[in-house]
């Protein structure tokens, strides 16, 4: 039962629109794909706040479209980044990557605008399926394996979420997706299910494992949606949960150490993605209006600057075929525009004044300060310095400056430059004219980022971090990039698991072959042999106590008689009588 159909849910435009892509070619396809996010955006701003598309299904009211200020902020940025990414991936020939990209972004839109847990779950799972295609499209052995591991994590997380939803729905009788809060088992399962997609510590390895293995454009798509949908879900269901503060603090702190020693530059960005999501999770954990605003604003900006950084590294990869810091350097000579856009992204993620990170990251820190959480505040400050160190300096320095690796390539293709240009423009725009961004946040934003104190202290923090980098580099203490990989928590899955499997296979297959030998071959064989002459054997066993001489001879004779069916009639009569007597006795008893 559909009550009213005045507006199209944003997800439908993307998902139904994606179905047409395989039938189009060349310029038509490109123009069509550019128009999809534009049409979606125009549709979105025409939809009033509130819920629509309430469908009655199996005794529950599903709500396919709920527009409120929280979901709307995510909705805007998801449309913007889809538009930018589509321009960026124009060089791709195969329709499948576009198709997966649109299904993926459509699923993200569906999940954030879902008003009930069931719809949310369906789109949540679609996210996994579509995103894994973007990883497999790279078509390398590493990508295939990483994609499988990615899938395992998300399927496990999805099952956890589903179990939680079932328990909660049965208990409360309501399927509405609103504030849940940590209380019973069901809410914990939902919490953990979302946590997998949010890349919480120990559950994060799918991200650093798979994102750097995806296609050039796929990584840009991936960086925008999965974790941000999880951030949205936490902001919706678990705002003000204290545990989130500590989870977020851990997320902000630990990846920066990995990022410093990581050689694959897209993996460095994957670690810094976790670090940035950490800030958002802390904001949601604090739960004040300022903190939630900060989390949402930072998610908005992070999608742009992280997308921009992934795009610049993708362009480097597209031109040079290399992405490891050890193979790169000096590219500012041949790719000056890409270098400039990368620096804009780096400045934004580091929260330089006039760049987007400056106006959003500080909201979360300020919220922590308002609540006098000294430890949280200090760790976040450490993480701010650290992110500048690895994402702000390391990425541009090792790719575009540093020692000249001798690549003399062309500048990135025009469409990539246009996409990066738009993202870079928005990064600077959001950082400089922050009012439009603040006006779409869930709560009234009274925060003022441009105070002299904030500008000076932030600049000081960043410049002295840069000073540390410079001095350590000049002194030769800065860790040289080494061709190596760094094991992370997935070691516990990837290394002992094969041993565990082998041990399991030895034990279980051992039991199997032992059973085979003992039961199938041994026991059955014996039963078989016995059954072949059961009558003769039973009779001889019964009679033997009464036979006094020539026992062996007699036994053989009896058995032989049964085998050849030459038993005297009297013996059958005796057996029959014996049977009747037995029956009579049992019957009497």
């Amino acid at each position: 039962m559909i009550n009213a159909i005045p507006h199209i849910p944003p997800a439908f435009i993307f998902i139904v629109g994606a179905l047409l892509i395989p039938f189009l070619k060349g310029h038509t396809r490109f123009v069509y794909m550019l128009l999809l996010p534009v049409a979606g955006f125009l549709n979105l701003i025409a939809i009033p706040m509130g819920t629509e598309w309430t469908v009655h299904f199996m005794g529950y009211d599903l709500c396919l479209m709920r527009i409120d200020r929280l979901s709307l902020a995510f909705g805007y940025i998801f449309h913007i980044i889809s538009f930018i990414t589509i321009i960026y991936v124009m060089h791709v020939k195969k329709s499948l990557e576009y198709f997966a990209g649109f299904i993926y972004s459509g699923a993200a839109l569906g999940a954030i605008f879902a008003g009930d847990l069931f719809t949310f779950f369906v789109f949540w799972e679609t996210l996994t399926v579509a995103s894994v295609i973007l990883i497999w499209m790279r078509k390398t052995k590493l990508a295939a394996a990483a994609g499988f591991r990615y899938m395992l994590y998300h399927v496990a997380g999805g099952l956890c979420l589903m179990a939680g939803i079932v328990i909660t729905t049965v208990k409360t009788g309501s399927i509405e997706f609103g504030y849940i809060g940590l209380s019973d088992l069901g809410s914990w399962l939902i919490f953990m299910g979302i946590g997998v997609n949010c890349a919480w510590p120990f559950l994060h390895t799918w991200l650093t494992d798979a994102y750097p293995e995806a296609t050039i454009g796929g990584t840009v798509f991936l960086s925008a949606f999965t974790t941000k949908v999880a951030v949205y879900a936490l902001a919706r269901a678990f705002p003000g949960t204290e545990l989130l503060i500590w989870i977020g603090v851990a997320m902000a702190a630990f990846p920066i150490f990995y990022a410093v020693i990581e050689n694959d530059l897209r993996r460095v960005l994957a670690y810094s993605l976790i670090n940035q999501v950490g800030f958002m999770v802390v904001g949601i954990g604090i739960g004040s209006e300022l903190a939630i605003n900060g989390a949402v604003a930072h998610a908005f900006n992070d999608i742009l600057f992280k997308g921009l950084l992934f795009m610049s590294m993708g362009a480097v990869m597209y031109r040079t075929g290399k992405i490891r810091a050890t193979d790169l350097g000096g590219l500012y000579k041949s790719m000056p525009w890409t270098a400039a856009f990368c620096i804009v992204g780096a400045a934004s993620i580091s929260a330089f004044p006039l760049f987007s990170g400056f106006v959003s990251k500080s909201m979360v820190m300020s919220a922590a300060g308002d609540k006098h959480m000294a430890f949280v505040w200090l760790v976040l400050l450490f993480a701010s310095a650290g992110v500048f160190h690895h994402a702000g300096i390391k990425i541009p320095f090792f790719a575009f400056f540093g020692h000249d690796a001798g690549h003399r390539v062309e500048e990135a293709p025009k469409h990539m430059l246009v996409a990066m240009g738009i993202a870079a423009f928005l990064c600077i725009f959001n950082g400089t004219f922050y009012k439009p961004l603040y006006s779409i946040l869930p709560y009234p934003a009274l925060y003022e980022p441009y105070t002299l104190s904030h500008v000076v202290t932030q600049t000081q923090l960043l410049f002295y971090s840069a000073l540390a980098f410079t001095l350590l580099l000049l002194a030769g203490i800065y860790p040289a990039e080494i061709r190596s990989i760094n094991v992370d928590f997935d070691w516990f899955i990837r290394k002992p698991l094969p041993f565990f499997l082998r041990a399991l296979s030895t034990v279980l297959n051992g039991i199997n072959s032992l059973s085979d030998r003992m039961l199938v071959q041994g026991f059955t064989g014996r039963v078989n042999r016995f059954a072949r002459n059961a009558m003769g054997k039973t009779t001889s066993a019964l009679l033997l106590p009464f036979i006094l001489k020539d026992r062996a001879d007699k036994k053989e004779k009896i058995e032989w008689a049964f085998q050849t069916n030459t038993v005297p009639v009297g013996a059958f009569a005796a057996c029959s009588v014996f049977l009747i007597v037995c029956l009579f006795i049992f019957y009497k008893i």
């Binding site: 000579k333 006098h372 400050l381 002299l452 104190s453 202290t457 540390a468 350590l472």
Partner: protein, 110 residues
């Protein structure tokens, strides 16, 4: 040797060629042009600008009134020292503790 009217023409021709080849050679050299940071003095200039702004910001900090949440935020140079020390610790811990623990060969998982 008899003077030939061709000799000056030949010489002129050879000379012209030399000049053209010279230009081409110079142009070839020019093609791999000097970039901004190929010159050490540019790097030096950048470092000088950087170090002086570092000092300038430290001085500016002394005259800035801070909206502090915590007492230590008002200490002169807190952010500078924190940023510097944080990054040194970050690098030292990453290099000397984390890397020896987690570094493996690139084919470790194969």
């Amino acid at each position: 040797m008899r003077w030939s009217p061709r000799a000056p023409a030949c010489n002129a021709w050879i000379g012209l060629n030399l000049i053209v080849f010279g230009f081409i050679k110079v142009a070839m050299n020019k093609k791999e042009k000097q970039h901004l940071f190929d010159k050490p003095e540019n790097v030096k200039r950048l470092l000088i600008i950087f170090f002086s702004s570092v000092i300038l910001i430290f001085i500016l900090d002394l005259f800035t009134h801070k909206h502090a949440h915590f007492a230590w935020e008002s200490w002169p140079g807190f952010y500078a020292i924190f940023g510097f020390v944080a990054c040194v610790i970050l690098v030292l811990v990453s290099r000397f503790i984390l890397r020896p623990l987690v570094k493996r060969k690139e084919d470790y998982y194969d």
